[in-house]
Structure formats: C-alpha cells, structure tokens
Amino acid sequence: MAAGRAVDLKTKLLTLFVVATNVLGNVSMSWGMKHQSAQLGLSPWAYIRLIFSPWVLLGTMLLILWLLSRMTLLGWADLSYVLPVTAIGYVLTAILGKYFLGEEISYQGWMGTGLIVAGIVLVGLTQPNTTNSEQSR
C-alpha cells in the first residue's frame, strides 16, 4: 500500500530527527557539565547559573526539541517500537563520547553496541503502529 509506505517513511524521518536531537543534546550537555568547576550541592542557584552556560543551554534547547519531536512520534508509533528503535542514540552517544569527550569504549562496550544494533533491526522490522487509535494524517 502506497499510503502505508508514506506513513512509514514519515515515521522513520521523524525517528531520525528524534535521535539526532537526543544525541547532540546529550553530548553538548555533558561537555558543558564537565567544563564547569562549581560543586553541585542542594542550592538551586548553582543549577540555575549552570543552565545558562553556553553548552548546557544549547544542550537544553536540543533536548527540548527532542522532547517535542518524541511526543509527536509517540502519537504516530507504539511506545514499544519507539523505545528500542531510538536506542541507536545510546550507541551514537557512546561513539561521540569517545571522540569528543575522551571517554573510553571497552571491548565489552562494542559487543553491547552490536547487540543494540541487532535489537533495533528486529524491532524495526515490525509494524510501527499496532493500536487502533486514530491514524496520523
């Protein structure tokens, strides 16, 4: 069915957007958090100052976009589809963490990465929306 394929393509494009904002948001947040010196205690002021530092602010913006696009995606596809498929974000975050933040990925980590990718392929083969709710227009 052509209509079914169009819905599918739209869902997949939005999934890509959700993953991209998630990964870039996490990495720039982490960059911002690691390049600050203040100790985070219970005082809200330290957090508020931190939120307005450039990298944390960019990260927060990206994560807000992520939240909104993910909400939309949850309307178009099942929760049990969205969760595993967007897990590619974990892999990309780890890889960016390695190259930009100097974090190590162990042999075990690469095995985990392989399993995640295999799981995503399996879930990606299933029908994205299985409940009888109003189909996205």
Partner: protein, 117 residues
Amino acid sequence: MVATVVGCTALADLLQSFEMKRHVVAVEDLQPGRLGRMLARLARRGPLVLAVFFMAISFFAFMKLLSVADVSFAVPVTAASVVIETVLAKLVLKETVTVKRWAGACLVAFGVALLAM
C-alpha cells in the same frame, strides 16, 4: 539517582504515549509557523503536563548523575527502562508486542547494559 531517573521516565513515557495517540499531531502542524499553536494546544492537555513534570524530575536527576559519572555510563544505565516500558506498553497501552519486538527490546537492553559496564 538511577532509580529516580528510570521510574520517572517510565511514568512520563506511558502518559505521553497514551495522550499523543488519543489526539495525533498532523504532519502539517510541524511547520515553524504553526508550532506555537501546537504547543498551546499540547499545554492544555492534563496528562501531558503531568508527563512533563515527571520528565523534569528525571531530567534534573539525570543532570546530577552526569556530574558524577561519565556520559557513556549515565546514559546506558538508564536503559533498564526499555524492557520495563515494553512490559507496561503491552499491559497498560494494549500494544501488540510480537516475538520479534520482545527479542529486539531484550537485545537492546542487554546491549545497553554491556555498554554501561
């Protein structure tokens, strides 16, 4: 801290999935000019406001976690929620979770756990 992140995330996701499927956002609403109106409509839906509240708690708990751990630990460890939420999606949201999807979710969660170690 990890338990707070996972618990709040699961609650937030269930509420969002439930509410977003009741009133689906159309593709035409995703243009910059219409985003404001879309946001205003979303903000009037009770379950979504509650979901954002839980997301906020999980977000600040996650920020605190990031300040004491590597991002390549903090992010994967919160993935325990994949399997928990798949179970809840089947029980609460009545989604059809096929064998393929179970297997995929388990592989993903297992992989994420390996990545976290």
